[in-house]
């Protein structure tokens, strides 16, 4: 115990030293003034000390603690309970807009949009194992295709939705084709570069995209020609996003349990073995990439319709990072996890205002923490599928021609 405390103190001293200039001193070089904030150092030292001691205690009792937080949560495995939970959730989600203000609905819509984005990215990162750091580019493609098609040709939301998805998928294929043969970490960097290029083009090519000022006055989605009040429109968009979310969950789950989904997972596990099994690496990766992109495209269209305004500032690397951290926190490959991850990440900062400033700091810390302590994410990956075995085949000696 004494040794633990000493260790904690040593770590605390190291971090106090480490953060000394940045946390304590705040200078104004123009007015030549200095503010010394020694209190920060004391707090930080105390926090690090406590964290280290507790952390070391936990890691020594890891096995006992992991019983409380198992790999795949047993509650989720229970079919009846699962169904009951889903019904309650569906009811809550449906009734939500009736009891809350437009402001709240808007926040919830945003959270759901991130959930859909997370699910889309999860196809690429979680299932196929391709780290895409430029996912936001496809989101931008969707948003701008609605904005521009509407501006130039007066195209409505419902026409733009599939077009946005399709265009994003095409971009996905165009980008994916040359880069998908790259190794994992290079792929990550290329996609990051691609995402930034798209944003910089949107920012600088004034004739095409109206530059940093963006495009305003994008119409909200129509409902059989009815004109909705702003509040009704917000509610309407909420339901649209909810519907898209449900469709996404359905589609992603079906894909995951299909022949293609299996190929994605196999590809993630071992590319060379995968090819030796006759799986076309490029085609399979491209499918994942394009499907993931098309989801971002559709959410992009919805985003443009929701905010009625798009500009390049909404599509920075930070957005990609937020979506990625949702996927990482939720557990790569896990649908439930990603939805929970999105709700936690987007709702928490909205409702805990004090928390909002620290949002990105926590995102970063969580990404590191999850990777180090719980690579499978909060929910874990429940994809341990046992297939019903063909009993009839047991006695048959089936040939193989």
């Amino acid at each position: 115990m004494w040794a633990e405390l000493k260790k904690g103190a040593a770590v605390a001293v190291w971090f106090m030293f480490l953060t000394l200039p940045i946390m304590v001193v705040k200078v104004n070089p123009i007015e030549q003034t200095v503010v010394w904030r020694w209190a920060n150092l004391v707090w930080l030292g105390a926090a690090v000390f406590v964290l280290t001691v507790v952390g070391r205690y936990c890691s020594r009792h890891r096995t006992e603690l992991s019983a409380f937080w198992p790999d795949a949560h047993p509650l989720l495995a229970h079919p009846q309970l699962k169904r009951f939970l889903l019904i309650v959730l569906a009811l809550l989600a449906t009734l939500f807009p009736l009891f809350f203000s437009s402001y709240q609905i808007n926040i919830m819509t945003t959270a759901l949009m991130y959930a859909v984005l997370g699910l889309g990215l999860n196809i690429v990162v979680g299932l196929a194992g391709l780290l895409d750091l430029g996912y936001v580019a496809f989101y931008a493609v969707g948003a701008y295709s609605y904005a521009l098609l509407n501006y130039h040709f007066g195209l409505g939301f419902w026409a733009a939705l599939p077009i946005g998805g399709l265009l994003a998928a095409i971009f996905g294929v165009l980008l994916g084709f040359p880069v998908l043969r790259l190794r994992g970490d290079y792929l990550a960097i290329v996609t990051l570069g691609f995402g930034e290029i798209i944003r910089l083009i949107l920012e600088n090519w004034n004739d095409f995209s109206f530059g940093p000022s963006g495009i305003a006055g994008i119409p909200r989605p129509g409902l059989f020609g009815l004109t909705l009040s702003v509040d009704d429109a917000i509610m309407y968009i909420y339901y649209l996003v909810l519907l898209l979310g449900l469709i996404t969950i359905f589609v992603v789950n079906r894909l995951r349990d299909s022949r293609i989904g299996r190929a994605w997972i196999a590809l993630r596990e071992d590319e060379i073995a995968c090819q030796a099994m006759g799986i076309d690496k490029t085609k399979t990766k491209l499918t994942a990439f394009a499907l993931g992109a098309s989801w971002a495209g559709m959410v992009g269209v919805l985003f443009a319709a929701k905010t009625t305004f798009v500009n390049p500032a909404s599509f920075t690397f930070l957005e990609s990072a937020i979506i990625l951290s949702i996927v990482v926190l939720g557990g790569m490959g896990s649908t439930v996890g990603v939805v929970i991850g999105a709700l936690v990440f987007i709702l928490l900062p909205e409702y805990l205002r004090a928390f909002a400033d620290y949002r990105m700091l926590l995102f970063g810390a969580i990404m590191v923490g999850v990777m180090v302590f719980r690579p499978q994410g909060i929910i874990g990956n429940p994809r341990r599928r046992s297939y019903p075995l063909p009993m009839a085949a047991a006695d048959q000696e089936v040939g193989h021609e």
Binding site: L18, P178, Y186, I189, G193, Y358, M367, V368, M371, P375
Partner: protein
Amino acid sequence: MEYFLELFFSGLTRGSIYALIALGYTMVYGIIGLINFAHGEIYMIGAFTALICATVLTIWGLPPLAVLGLSAFAAIIWSAAYGLTVERIAYRPLRHAPRLSPLISAIGMSIFLQNYVLLAQTADFVSFPALIPDFAWLEPYRSIIGSSDLVILLTTAVVMLLLTILIKGTKIGRAMRATAQDREMALLLGIDVNLVISVTFVIGSALAAIGGVLIASHIGQINFAIGFLAGIKAFTAAVLGGIGSVPGAVLGSLLLGWTESFATGYISSDYEDVFAFALLVLILIFRPSGILGRHHNQKV
């Protein structure tokens, strides 16, 4: 011609700074095969530490040259400490994890460090004191090359020389090369691999800090986000030269510096950053092993 020379030297200056950062990427990649995404942030922290230190020391009334020296020293010390700590927290536990895990952890670290500085310092650009004095004898050539350019070039050259001596001629350098070639084997031969990796991070971070101080006093302002772009560009340079190769990083950096300088000078400055990104994408697609990199055959 004068315009060409001006662009040439500004490209050279840029390239030198990129080289100081790119070396950190390339050395870390060479040893543990990780793209240290947080490396740009180490450079940013170096610049901030120097800024803080320089302002405090100036207020205390130290002579400019002492301020320059001490701030650079502080930047090196703290950047190295950050590099060491980042490796210990975010990368070492993941050394045997699937390849993408440390990369995601590195991205998390990068976001964390940016926001740490944002919260502890400021979101605005802060003006950086001009630490590098103006040389009177350089006055006639001012339009082509400034004194800070000259200092940057000379410092970079000296640092490169020292680094080469360190890698080629010292025991730790030999251990680093051995570890880069085959970590398992190095371990079997009794090399303290953890130590080697730590030293690599320390050296890489220290170089980035020097880059941070130089560029900050050259450009005159910094903020918490400068590390992202500089990091990506330096990484581009490292890949261009052949990641894992030390001379490659320098070559790639100079090429990138010139590309940017000439492209913005002769084509358009609107797309300054696009050139770097486009170059990055093109190299990775067409020659992922870079100019001096070795082509690796996958083991089956």
